[in-house]
């Protein structure tokens, strides 16, 4: 353990902790934009700067090791001044258009501007570069007018997905996130997993499928298991007004043991079939080669009567049930129980082979 003093209070943290980890472990919040414990550290946003007695420079607490006897200030006048300047510099390159932003209410940049009272930037004389919003892919909106250059997307692409589709291009103020040769994602190694969307702290990368359907504070998040392949990823269905409006993911291993928040394109963007206008919403009975709508009672009675009759006429083994690799365990249990106990046959199978 190391013991240090933060804001006048003695705290302890495991040896090897960074100052930020030590602070958060002890309930002291330090603002961060580029920090992400699951990704390679960058130390570049300079929001988490702290003052350490005896050090001439501010330290980025996310990468600075906590040392015994350190005396740290996380909200001193100078630190707050520096953070405000950093926020103002970012505000000067940001379109500051929260009203129409998907991430309104779920944006760290917005939170910190609020917290540090940054209502406008003093550094906007030269205006800002306006980036076109023109990547035609149907999954990910890329609006670099809202980008704060934290590079979490770049690192998620490399560290989680290992696709390496994006990186920083250009230098200095012209630096931006881009694919090789600054093209569309579809022409890069991008697999549209949306891990970049997951880690983006602002509104620069958002889901096109969810656009306009509901903001974070309006939705309820229901933790569940993905309906696609057999990996069993945990995801969160975002629900607003009894409709699924999006998918997000919980990154805690305690809730997401298989995928730790990582998803693929199907899990993250392939959910709007739920509300497809093609959904069957009422039982159908075929008459003279055409389907007609029927009530549940009518349809179920018809099925029960016909199955009963066939069972009596042709025997149980003339019937079979295909249960499903997509329905729940409970339903599969019932389906085979139904086949065996009600129909009286072992003719039950599903598409495990297909």
């Amino acid at each position: 353990m190391v013991t240090l003093t933060v804001n006048g209070k003695q705290i302890q943290a495991p040896k090897g902790s960074t100052i930020l980890e030590a602070c958060r472990l002890n309930g002291i919040e330090v603002p961060t934009l580029c920090y992400d414990p699951d990704l390679r550290l960058a130390g570049s946003c300079r929001m988490c700067l702290v003052e350490v007695k005896g050090r001439p420079l501010f330290l980025a607490s996310c990468v600075a090791p906590a040392e015994n006897g350190m005396v740290v200030e996380t909200e001193s006048t100078d630190i707050v001044e520096a953070r405000r300047v950093v926020l103002e510099l970012l505000a000067a390159r940001h379109d500051f258009n929260c009203q129409t932003c998907e991430k309104n209410g779920d944006c760290k940049f917005q939170d910190y501007c609020y917290q540090y009272g940054v209502k406008e930037s003093r550094f906007t004389d030269g205006g800002r570069h306006v980036y076109p919003i023109d990547d035609p892919n149907p999954f990910i909106e890329r609006d670099y007018n809202k980008c704060v250059m934290c590079t979490r997307c770049v690192r998620a692409c490399e560290d989680i997905t290992n696709a390496r589709a994006i990186n920083v291009e250009n230098r200095g103020h012209k630096a931006k996130i881009a694919t090789a040769f600054d093209g569309d994602l579809a022409d890069s190694p991008c697999v549209f997993c949306g891990q970049c969307v997951m880690v983006c702290p602002v509104g620069a990368l958002t889901s096109k499928v969810s656009a306009g359907k509901g903001r974070a504070y309006e939705v309820e998040k229901v933790v569940t298991t993905c309906t696609y392949c057999g990996t069993g990823c945990t995801l969160e269905l975002n629900v607003k007004d009894n409709k699924v409006v999006g998918v997000t993911s919980n990154r805690s291993e305690e809730y997401s043991p298989v995928n730790k928040g990582a998803l693929c394109v199907k899990g993250r963007f392939g959910w709007d079939f739920i509300h497809s206008s093609d959904r069957l919403t009422t039982p159908l009975i075929k008459e003279n080669g055409e389907f007609r709508e029927a009530s549940w009672d009518e349809a179920l009675d018809l099925v029960a009567t016909r199955l009963q009759a066939i069972k009596e006429d042709s025997g149980p083994d003339s019937m079979a049930v295909f249960t499903s690799a997509r329905i729940t365990n409970e339903e599969n249990y019932l389906a085979q129980k139904f086949t065996r106990a009600v129909l009286g046959t072992n003719n039950v199978d599903h598409c495990a082979r297909l």
């Binding site: 520096a82 510099l89 004389d125 030269g126 920083v168």
Partner: protein, 406 residues
């Protein structure tokens, strides 16, 4: 003209730089032989005792730096020849005039940290230096003078930030030239995450003579806290635009007037910027400061790389600083927020001032931005970039005020 003292340039213009035999005849590679006969610890101790401090700009005790390298199977010696500071050409001069003194110095370091591999990271604008070095390395290999130490030259792509040691390492690894956060320092985890010593050309070039003549000899030269000599490159409105090597207790005034021959065309002195583009501007009143690292720091200036840019009375300070701001706006790598955005906004405000369109509030907000950048930026580039603005606001504020709107 004043008298130089030549240690790193001891062979300059005396031997054929293309001939290893000349170098050996002049006493070359004897220091390495001596070093190889020493215990590593003793060798590091000797360099530490000499108090040879880094000649690249940061002024860290070289022996001390080496002593941080933990025992490891693979370690690297990296020489910083990314001489990107405008007005600086000392490293190129050293290498062009006496390449083997660099190679010998690197090999000595190699023995000290048990390294078999050295890299020279050469500025992309010096292709002929790469050729020149490769020729020298080839000769040394064939003579076998380097023992089991080998050296490879890598060429930069023209980014100023790659003079920063961790950005330089990233570049050698084939990545974007962006600095890493420290710690870990390269001494612990540097090139390909292995312990790595990065030193400047001039630092390495001092080593053969320190080994030959001993740490006591070296320690007695120049300023006590920063002993030895310093190669300076004189540019601007000075009569003699030359590279010189002088003891570190020489004053700025001596450099300009005794070695530089004074101001050109009989004009009056206005300012001198030392250490490269990020160096502070020094007014007449501080010219009697010795050039050593600590004295320079004492007046809010830097020794840096030893570039000496002299400006006469006709020069427009605000205009010059605007150009400097443009340089940093262009060279910021873009990794950390305060530097990426700050260098851009500094240039924006400086341009506004220079065009006579700024008010005093603009100067104030620029001062605030500079103050934050100096403490908040990730690497030396961003931390030092505001230096010219800050020092000219301090010493030449009237030149700014003249251009401000009422």
């Amino acid at each position: 003209m004043g008298k130089e003292m030549r240690i790193v340039l001891r062979n300059a213009d005396k031997i054929d730089p293309n001939s290893i035999d000349d170098y050996i005849k002049a006493g070359g590679y004897r220091a390495l032989e001596k070093a190889l006969g020493m215990e590593r610890k003793a060798l590091i101790e000797e360099v530490k005792k000499a108090n040879l401090r880094g000649r690249g700009g940061a002024g860290f005790n070289a022996g001390m730096k080496w002593s941080f390298v933990p025992p490891a199977e693979v370690t690297y010696v990296v020489c910083n020849l990314d001489e990107g500071e405008p007005g600086t050409y000392k490293d190129r001069t050293i290498v062009q005039k006496d390449p083997h003194t660099l190679l010998e110095g690197m090999a000595i370091c190699g023995h000290a940290i048990n390294s078999q591999k050295g890299y020279i990271y050469c500025r992309g604008e010096y292709p002929y230096v790469v050729e020149h070095l490769n020729r020298a390395i080839d000769q040394a290999r064939r003579k076998g003078v380097l023992g089991n130490f080998d050296i490879e030259v890598r060429m930069g792509g023209g980014a100023y930030v790659c003079g920063e040691e961790t950005a330089l390492i990233e570049s050698i690894e084939g990545h974007r030239g962006e600095p890493r956060f420290k710690p870990p320092f390269p001494g612990v985890a540097g090139l390909w995450a292995e312990p790595t010593v990065v030193n400047n050309v001039e630092t390495f070039a001092n080593l053969p003579e320190i080994l030959n003549r001993g740490s006591e000899w070296f320690k007695a030269i120049g300023a006590a806290s920063y002993p030895g000599t310093k190669v300076l490159t004189l540019t601007g409105d000075v009569v003699n635009r030359v590279a010189i090597e002088v003891p570190t207790d020489t004053t700025i005034r001596q450099v300009i007037y005794e070695f530089g021959g004074g101001i050109r065309n009989g004009k009056k002195f206005k300012a001198v910027q030392i250490g490269g583009t990020s160096g502070g501007f020094i007014p007449e009143s501080l010219l009697d400061t010795p050039i050593d690292f600590d004295s320079m720091r004492g007046i809010g200036a830097t020794l840096g790389t030893g570039a000496v840019l002299v400006m006469d009375e006709t020069r427009d300070i605000v205009d010059i600083v605007t150009r400097i701001a443009k340089f940093f706006e262009h060279e910021s790598c873009g990794k950390c927020n305060p530097c990426r955005e700050g260098t851009f906004r500094n240039f924006e405000i400086m341009t506004k001032i220079n065009r006579g369109m700024a008010a005093v509030q603009d100067v104030e907000k620029m001062s605030l931005l500079c103050k934050v950048m100096q403490k908040a930026c990730l690497c030396g580039l961003g931390q030092a970039a505001p230096g010219p603005i800050v020092t000219t606001l301090q010493h030449f504020r009237h030149e700014y005020e003249r251009k401000l709107l009422a």
